[in-house]
C-alpha cells in the first residue's frame, strides 16, 4: 500500500535527503522526518493555513503538497525564518501587540504575513485582512494581528524613506 521515493531538497538552507512514503505531505515530512514542529496541522484539507510554509519562495499549504514531489525544492519554515532574522521585526510586533494567544496559528500566520510585507508594501488594513483571511486564528479576533502587520509595514516604509 505504500511506495517510497527518494528526494533531496533544501530545508532552511540545509540539504536533506530522504526516502519518503508517496502519500506523505510536506507538513508531516517536516514534523515527523525532520523534527521541525513549528508548522502545524489544523485541518489537513487546505483551509486553515496553520501548515503554511515557504516553498521556492512562495507560501504554500504544507498539508496539500506531497513530499515526494519536492526533489530539488527549497523549503523555508518558521524555524528557518527565525534563525535568519528575516522576519524579526514582524515577530517582535506580534509579541508587542499580543497578536498570538495560543500560538498554534502563529507560524503559518507569520509566513503568510511575511509575504505581504514584500508583495504589497503599501497594503491597507483591508488588504491586510484580505491577505491573511486564508489563515484562521481562533483566539485573537484578528485585530491585533492586523495591527502588528500594519506596524511593520509602516516601520519598513519609514526605513525605506529614510534610506
Amino acid at each position: 500500500m505504500t511506495t517510497r521515493i527518494d528526494v533531496t531538497l533544501t530545508v532552511n538552507g540545509e540539504r536533506v535527503s530522504r526516502s519518503v512514503d508517496t502519500r506523505l505531505h510536506l507538513v508531516d515530512f517536516l514534523r515527523s522526518e525532520l523534527g521541525l514542529a513549528g508548522a502545524h496541522t489544523g485541518c489537513e484539507h487546505g483551509v486553515c493555513g496553520a501548515c503554511t510554509v515557504r516553498l521556492d519562495g512562495e507560501p504554500v499549504r504544507g498539508c496539500l503538497v506531497m513530499a515526494a514531489s519536492l526533489d530539488g525544492a527549497v523549503v523555508e519554515t518558521i524555524e528557518g525564518l527565525s534563525d535568519s532574522g528575516e522576519i524579526l521585526d514582524l515577530q517582535e510586533a506580534f509579541v508587542a501587540r499580543n497578536a498570538c494567544q495560543c500560538g498554534y496559528c502563529t507560524p503559518g500566520m507569520l509566513v503568510t504575513a511575511a509575504d505581504i510585507l514584500t508583495a504589497s508594501p503599501q497594503a491597507t488594513r483591508e488588504e491586510i485582512r484580505e491577505h491573511i483571511s486564508g489563515n484562521y486564528c481562533r483566539c485573537t479576533g484578528y485585530q491585533a494581528i492586523v495591527d502588528a502587520v500594519e506596524d511593520v509595514l509602516k516601520a519598513r516604509a519609514a526605513k525605506r524613506e529614510a534610506a
Partner: protein, 799 residues
C-alpha cells in the same frame, strides 16, 4: 511586616511605582517561543516505543454493534493491536455524568468504547494501534464492523413525545434534567401588564474548533506502575483524578502534563471516551500511545454546544418598566451527559442568567434537557451566557419597539442601579458589585449614536439597510465549590501557587492554573514580580504539570486571574515577608523597615539600596553558616486561594454592533463593534482587550456562521472547515474595547474574569442590529446563525 496588606498599600492601581506591574501592558514572556515556532504542543512530544491510535467511528446515529472482525486489520503492515469496547472495559470502569445538586438529573454509564450500541454518528467504536497514524488508519479501513441500524431520536422537540425512541431504555425516557426557577407571580404580572412581548429563539448547535485538535499521549510504565499523560487539557488535576479513578490506579501514580495548548475555549475540559481509550490501551500495552484528532474527528466528537430552543415573554408596564420574564428553554445534549461537568449545566445557566442585568420582580424560567442521537454537547466558552443574553436582549428590544421607546432608554430604565449592591437576582444569583449604568455611559461615549442614526436614515433612502444593536450582559466568573464540588465532582475550586527565590535572586512560581493562550503565565509573572518586588524578567512561571505544581482547578470559567492570580499574589507577599526577615537579620534591621524594589533590598523610609537579592541568595544558600542559627530561611512559600463570600464573582458589560444587511442577498456585513466590560482589576490591558476581541469573534461566529448541521437521520453534514464556517479576518469589524473596574472585595487582587464577556454579548448585539436594519420591512430573525437564507425568509424573499 505586621501591617495589614491592602490593595492601596500594595500599590495595585499605581502604575508609577517601581516594579509596579498590575495594570500594565507587559508583553507575554512566553510569546517569543510561539512566534518562533518553538512551542511544545502535545503532538510535538515524541517518546521511545510510541505507537499511534486511530478509531473506527460509527457511520450510524444509532446502531447495534453486531460483530467486529479484526483479522484483516491485524494483517496491515505496521498495525500492532486492535481494541474493542469489551477489551477496554476490563481495565476501565464506566462513568455516569450527573451532579448531585442538579436534582433528579440522570444519565447512562459511558465506556471508552461502547459495548453494544453506537449512539451517535462519529462515536469511536473500535481502536487500532500502529507504528504510525497512517498505518493505524489503514488498519481502521481494513476492519469489518457489522451494524444493525436502529431508529434514531434526532429532534429534541420530539424527544419526550410518546412513542419516541428511548436512547437508554434503562433510564425510562429521554429526560435528563429539568429545573424551574420561579419568583413572584408571573402569570399575574402578565395578566395585568401594559404590554407583553414574546418570541421563540433558536441558538445553533456549534463547536469550539480549537485550531490544535484534541491531543493526548498516555504512557503507562509497568516498571513503576505510573501513568504519565501528556494532554492538551485545561484541567490537569481533574484529569489526573479521572484517569486514576476510572483505571483503578492510585491518584499519586498518575501524572498529567500539559505544555502548550493550542486553544481550548471549554472544549478541552471534558472527559472524552476516545481519550480514555488511549489511556486504557497504554495501560494494557505498557507503552506510550498517541492520539491526535483530525479535523473530521473533531467535528464529530468534540463536544458541541448551544443547541437550544427558547420561548420567551417579557411583560412591561406603560412606562417601560419590566414586570416579568417568562422563559421556557429546551435543549438536546446528545446521547450522554458529558463527564464530569455534565451537559445539564448549560441549560441550568440559562435559568440562572436570563434577565440578569435587570431589576424586575417576577421571574419564571424552565430548562428541559433531553437526550438525542447526535454528538454530546457540554460546556463551551461562556456556557449558557450567549443564549440567555440573546433571549433577554431580544425581548428587551421587542418591548422597546412595542412601547415606541429608544433601546438605550429602556435599558437605562431597567438596568440594576449601580448603588443597589450587594443584591440577589430573581433567579437567585448573588451580585457583589456590578456597574451596568457606568458601563452603558462609557459605551455611549464610545459609540457615536447620533451620527450612526443620521447615517442610517440617509442610507435607507439609498436602499442601504444598516442597524445598530445593543446587548447588556452579566458573566459568571471565579466559580466556587458551588459550581461543581457540591454536586460531587472532583474539580478543584481552589488553586495554589508556590513561589521560590533562587540564589541569583530570580523567582520561580508554580501555579495550578494553566495557560492555553490567554496569557495566564504573563499575568502570573506580573503579579509575582509586583508582589515580591523584582523585575518581571526575573520571574519564571511553571504550569501544567500535576507532579510539580500545587493542586488546583486549571483554567476554565474565567478563574485564572481571579483565583490563580490571587494565590500568586498571596504567595508572593509571603515570600517577600520571608526575604525581609532574612534581610533584617543580615542587615541588623527590622524586617518591617526594609522593602524590596526591583530586586534590591532597600530602606523603606529612604529608598536607599542596601543589598541586591542575589547577595541575599548567595548567603542563604551557600554561606548559611554566617546567619543566626535559629533564623528560618526557607525562601519558598505556598498559598492557596478560594472565594468564600460569593458562589461566583459576577462581572458585567455591554456591547453594541453596527452592521449592514444586504436585503437582496441576505448577507450581513459587520461595520463596527464595541464592548465595555468590567472584569474588576485589569492586570494586563493588552491581554484583556484581545481576550475580549477573541471572545467577540467567537460570538460573531455563533451569530452568523457556525452551525453543526445534521440531517434527519442524524448524519453530521458539516465535517470540514469548508462546510463549517468560522470567522475569518476579512469579515471581522474593528472592535473597540472599554473598561470599567469594579474590583471584587473577595480578594486583594480584585480580579474577575474577562474571557467570556465577548462571547456572551456579541450574538445578542448582532441579532438586535440585524432586526434594527430590517425594521423598514417589518422583518425579524431570532434563529442563530443568522444566515442569508434565514434573513431572506424573514424578508419574504424566499419561502
Amino acid at each position: 511586616m505586621n501591617e495589614i496588606v491592602t490593595p492601596q498599600s500594595l500599590g495595585l492601581s499605581r502604575e508609577d511605582l517601581p516594579n509596579s506591574y498590575i495594570g500594565r501592558s507587559v508583553p507575554r514572556p512566553n510569546a517569543r517561543k510561539l512566534v518562533e515556532g518553538r512551542a511544545t504542543y502535545t503532538d510535538d512530544v515524541d517518546l521511545p516505543r510510541l505507537v499511534h491510535a486511530a478509531f473506527y467511528r460509527s457511520p450510524h446515529a444509532h446502531a447495534r454493534i453486531v460483530s467486529i472482525d479484526t483479522s484483516a486489520a491485524l494483517k496491515v503492515p505496521g498495525v500492532v493491536r486492535v481494541f474493542t469496547g469489551a477489551d477496554l472495559a476490563k481495565v476501565c470502569d464506566p462513568w455516569v455524568a450527573v451532579l448531585a445538586h442538579l436534582k433528579g438529573m440522570k444519565s447512562a454509564p459511558q465506556y471508552p468504547l461502547p459495548l453494544e450500541r453506537a449512539t451517535w454518528q462519529g462515536e469511536a467504536v473500535v481502536a487500532v494501534v500502529a507504528e504510525s497514524r497512517a498505518a493505524a488508519e489503514d488498519g481502521v479501513a481494513a476492519l469489518a464492523v457489522e451494524f444493525e441500524a436502529l431508529p434514531a431520536q434526532v429532534d429534541m422537540e420530539t424527544a419526550l413525545a410518546p412513542g419516541s425512541v428511548v436512547i437508554h431504555p434503562e433510564l425510562g425516557d429521554n429526560l435528563v434534567f429539568t429545573r424551574t426557577a420561579e419568583t413572584g407571580d408571573v402569570a399575574g404580572a402578565i395578566a395585568s401588564a401594559h404590554r407583553t412581548v414574546e418570541a421563540t429563539f433558536h441558538t445553533g448547535r456549534h463547536t469550539g474548533v480549537t485550531l490544535e485538535p484534541r491531543s493526548i499521549i498516555a504512557d503507562y510504565n509497568r516498571a513503576d506502575g505510573t501513568l504519565t499523560v501528556h494532554h492538551s487539557t485545561q484541567a490537569p488535576h481533574m484529569m489526573q483524578n479521572v484517569f486514576a479513578t476510572q483505571l483503578r490506579l492510585a491518584e499519586s501514580d498518575v501524572r498529567v502534563i500539559c505544555k502548550d495548548v493550542g486553544g481550548s475555549y471549554g472544549i478541552k475540559v471534558h472527559v472524552y471516551p476516545d481519550e480514555m481509550a488511549v489511556a486504557c490501551m497504554s495501560r494494557i500495552m505498557g507503552r506510550p500511545v498517541k492520539f491526535i484528532a483530525d479535523r473530521f474527528e473533531a467535528f464529530g466528537s468534540d463536544i458541541h454546544a448551544r443547541d437550544h430552543r427558547i420561548k420567551g415573554r417579557l411583560a412591561v408596564d406603560a412606562e417601560g418598566r419590566f414586570l416579568a420574564f417568562d422563559i421556557d428553554d429546551l435543549t438536546g445534549i446528545g446521547p450522554y451527559s458529558v463527564y464530569p461537568r455534565t451537559s445539564a449545566v448549560e441549560g441550568n445557566q440559562v435559568v440562572n442568567l436570563c434577565g440578569g442585568p435587570y431589576s424586575f420582580p417576577n421571574y419564571r424560567c424552565t430548562t428541559t434537557v433531553v437526550l438525542q442521537n447526535k454528538a454530546p454537547t457540554c460546556q463551551y466558552r461562556a456556557v449558557g451566557h450567549p443564549i440567555a443574553t440573546a433571549v433577554t436582549e431580544g425581548l428587551v428590544d421587542l418591548a422597546a419597539e412595542a412601547l415606541g421607546m429608544d433601546p438605550v432608554e429602556i435599558r437605562r430604565k431597567n438596568l440594576i442601579p449601580d448603588d443597589a449592591y450587594p443584591c440577589t437576582s430573581p433567579a437567585g444569583m448573588k451580585f457583589e458589585g456590578l456597574s451596568h449604568h457606568q458601563s452603558l455611559a462609557k459605551l455611549l461615549e464610545m459609540v457615536p449614536v447620533e451620527k450612526i442614526r443620521a447615517d442610517q436614515v440617509e442610507q435607507r433612502k439609498r436602499g442601504v439597510y444598516r442597524g445598530l444593536g445593543f446587548a447588556s450582559f452579566i458573566e459568571l466568573t471565579n466559580p466556587s465549590p458551588f459550581m461543581y464540588g457540591i454536586g460531587g465532582a472532583k474539580i478543584s475550586a481552589q488553586d495554589g501557587c508556590t513561589v521560590r527565590m533562587d540564589p541569583d535572586g530570580s523567582v520561580v512560581a508554580m501555579s495550578g492554573v494553566t495557560e492555553q493562550g490567554q496569557g495566564t503565565e504573563a499575568i502570573l509573572a506580573q503579579i509575582v514580580a509586583h508582589g515580591v518586588g523584582v523585575p518581571v524578567s526575573k520571574v519564571r512561571i511553571v504550569t501544567g504539570d500535576t507532579r510539580t505544581v500545587p493542586y488546583g482547578g486549571g483554567t476554565w470559567a474565567c478563574r485564572g486571574a481571579g483565583i490563580g492570580g490571587e494565590a500568586a499574589l498571596q504567595s508572593a507577599i509571603a515570600l517577600k515577608e520571608q526575604i525581609l526577615e532574612v534581610a533584617g537579620a543580615m542587615l541588623q534591621a527590622q524586617g518591617s523597615s526594609l522593602d524590596i524594589v526591583m530586586g534590591e533590598i532597600v530602606d523603606k523610609a529612604t529608598g536607599q539600596a542596601r543589598m541586591p537579592l542575589s547577595e541575599l541568595g548567595r548567603i542563604v544558600y551557600y554561606r548559611g553558616d554566617t546567619l543566626p542559627k535559629e533564623l528560618s530561611r526557607e525562601l519558598v512559600q505556598t498559598r492557596h486561594f478560594i472565594t468564600k463570600e460569593y458562589p461566583f464573582a459576577f462581572t458585567n458589560g455591554i456591547q453594541a454592533s453596527w452592521l449592514e444587511v444586504d436585503v437582496e442577498t441576505g448577507m450581513v456585513k459587520l461595520l463596527e463593534h464595541w464592548c465595555v466590560e468590567d472584569c474588576g482589576r485589569v492586570i494586563n490591558p493588552l491581554l484583556v482587550d484581545e481576550q475580549v476581541r477573541g471572545g467577540i469573534v467567537q460570538g460573531i461566529g455563533g451569530a452568523l456562521y457556525e452551525h453543526c448541521i445534521y440531517n434527519e437521520d442524524g448524519q453530521l453534514l458539516t465535517t470540514t472547515l469548508a462546510d463549517y464556517l468560522v470567522p475569518m479576518a476579512a469579515e471581522m469589524p474593528d472592535m473597540h474595547v472599554g473598561h470599567v473596574e469594579t474590583p471584587t472585595k473577595e480578594s486583594l487582587l480584585g480580579a474577575k474574569g474577562a474571557g467570556e464577556a465577548g462571547t456572551a454579548g456579541a450574538p445578542a448585539a448582532i441579532m438586535n442590529a440585524i432586526n434594527d436594519a430590517l425594521k423598514p420591512f417589518g422583518a425579524k430573525v431570532f434563529a442563530q446563525p443568522f444566515t442569508p437564507e434565514r434573513i431572506l425568509k424573514a424578508l419574504g424573499t424566499i419561502a
